[in-house]
Amino acid sequence: MKVAIGCDHIVTDIKNHIKEYLENRGFEVVDCGTYDFERTHYPIYGKRVAEKVVTKEVDLGVVLCGTGVGITNAVQKVKGARCALVGDVAAAVYAKEELNCNIIGVGGRVSGIGMIEDIMDAYFAAEYKPTDENKELINKIDNLIDRTDYIGDDHFFDEFLEKWDRGEYHD
């Protein structure tokens, strides 16, 4: 099992913990960053993880930020990504079994580390159970996005990063 993982700077320590937890299960983990606590932007890492999943470079993905909301949004905007943001085992299992969820999201400031470990166990143990009904739903979801041109484009966000560097985004 090859898993891509990504986070923002709020929860890098928790990402590192999950990485180690999954490696101890024998998974190969591709760490898409961020790697430290310096302020950065969750779409960069969500996009990277989703792209590795939809191009089949890895099997599945794990993403987290403070609430999980920001990074799972970046994930979902990639064609073929089917992400669930969960705080419990029940939704994680449902998303995998019924919707073949390929990227699981958690909130590092919402769920504790024991809960997150349980979610990981349940998500990776669950298997997609195809039915005509859920295949049609998955197909409809995947077809909601046409564009694929930004997949693999590492400079897609450059215009905003330049604007950031010029100090044009401020509180």
Binding site: T67, V86, L161
Partner: protein
């Protein structure tokens, strides 16, 4: 600001509770799924499209059993920032930081009291903009 709300049959009871609750609080609520839609896909499309009609002002809430399906649907639309919510903390943060305009909840996951608090926090929360806008700009350039 209008709050557009929809559900499938499994989310119907919780959706009706949230509709009444938000109306009592004097929010303008539009229920697009009276009786509950056939599946989460149909409910999600209806809510999302109505939110997109005035995306800066409208907010959407979609309820099914787990919240995951509606999240997968709604978030595929450009300019929709959707949050699959299980807790009150995220409900506050997600409009403030992420500028989320749609949330999803699962009736099988959270209870009515928690769901009401989530809906209320989402309904009153304001986007704080500032440094957060770069991330919103990035999301909005995608798909």
């Amino acid at each position: 600001m209008k709050i557009i709300i929809g559900s499938d049959k499994k989310g119907l009871q919780l959706k009706d509770t949230i509709v009444s609750y938000l109306k009592e609080l004097n929010f303008e609520v539009i229920d697009v799924s009276e009786g509950g839609d056939k599946d989460f896909y149909d409910a999600s499309i209806k809510v999302t499209q109505m939110v997109l009609e005035d995306v800066k002002n409208n907010k959407g809430i979609i309820i099914d059993e787990f919240g995951a399906g509606p999240f997968m649907v709604a978030d595929k639309f450009k300019y929709i920032i959707c949050a699959e919510l299980n807790d009150e903390h995220s409900a506050k943060m997600t409009r403030d930081h992420n500028n989320a305009n749609v949330i999803t909840m699962g009736s099988g996951v959270i209870g009515e009291d928690v769901a009401k608090r989530i809906a209320h926090r989402f309904a009153v929360a304001q986007y704080s903009g500032g440094r957060h806008q770069i991330r919103v700009d990035m999301l909005n350039k995608m798909c």
